[in-house]
């Protein structure tokens, strides 16, 4: 039986970390782990977005649906939030 887990390299605001994730779980599950591992606090998981290959990923989709190759690097970034007005 194949291992249902994958190790994802996630760069949190520039700081890399590796998260072990269940392929059957939605992608959003990796966010809390990545934030905890990099000791990034202050903003809830919904205020973050994951970028892979220049695309913002759907956090509700199962991890296996993305078909991440070994060594894939995802970028976890704080959303812009409010702003853009004086």
């Amino acid at each position: 039986m194949p291992d249902p887990h994958i190790d994802l390299a996630i760069v949190v605001n520039g700081q890399p970390t590796t998260v072990r994730a269940n392929l059957e779980a939605p992608l959003r599950t990796v966010i809390e782990k990545a934030l905890a591992q990099t000791k990034t606090t202050g903003q809830p998981p919904e205020n973050w977005e994951l970028n892979y290959g220049g695309n913002i990923l759907d956090l509700s989709a199962k991890i296996e649906t993305f078909g991440f190759p070994p060594g894939a690097t995802l970028f976890l970034n704080l959303k812009a939030g409010i702003g853009g007005s004086l």
Partner: protein, 205 residues
């Protein structure tokens, strides 16, 4: 441009500045693939040049100057600058205003009868803000010094964002990349036709 005067312990700011630069350099090859080039890094300033890699030929879209004076007692200052001279752009000269979609909104036309169904339009708002075309604009975003120093944002203190890394170098570059350089997909061309003479249909004997 003169750096602001330092009031926090300079060694603390310098150490945190060095961490930001080291964090970038650790993945410098990845960022180069995305069109980000670290051009200068001398405390308290960092200049990163960002290229548009989705266009052919690729172009240097903008430089970004970060000033980490007093970091992280205060957030960094962020300016879009000419990548060659390092001078900040005036608002009218910005290569991108970092437009952000505000979603579909109803088109409003004064004087039309109430209840008339009008098409919706896609609204957008620039993250780069200024009061006048000749002013140096600032990045209107939490995590940026100019945003938190602005009296209109006194209710959104830097301390609320510091722990999340809102002022970190790579995070701010990600925002500029997302709204500024990544969406650029081609060149806008303006062709000017000039009459330089007549075409001759025939040459009579």
């Amino acid at each position: 441009m003169a750096a602001s005067s330092q009031v926090a312990d300079p060694e603390v700011s310098r150490r945190k500045f060095n961490r930001e630069v080291a964090t970038f350099r650790r993945l410098a090859a990845t960022y180069r693939n995305r069109g980000w080039f670290l051009a200068e890094a001398t405390f308290p300033e960092v200049i990163v040049v960002m290229a548009g890699r989705n266009i052919k030929p690729p172009a240097l879209i903008t430089g970004v100057r970060f000033d980490y004076t007093d970091y992280d007692f205060r957030p960094p200052s962020v300016r879009l600058v000419d990548p060659f001279s390092g001078e900040p752009y005036a608002f009218k000269d910005l290569p991108t205003r970092l437009p952000r979609s505000t979603g579909l909104a109803n088109l409003r036309v004064e004087g039309l009868p109430a209840g008339l169904e009008l098409p919706k339009i896609m609204g957008q708002q620039p993250l780069m803000q200024a009061y006048g075309d000749g002013d140096v604009p600032f990045l209107c975003l939490a995590g940026v010094r100019e945003y938190h120093d602005h009296p209109g944002h006194s209710g959104d203190a830097w301390e609320l964002h510091r722990g999340s890394g809102a002022g970190r170098l790579v995070r701010l570059l990600e925002v500029i990349d997302k709204y500024g350089t990544s969406p650029i997909g081609g060149y806008n061309l303006q062709l000017e036709a000039r009459i330089i003479g007549y075409t001759q249909q025939s040459v009579p004997e």
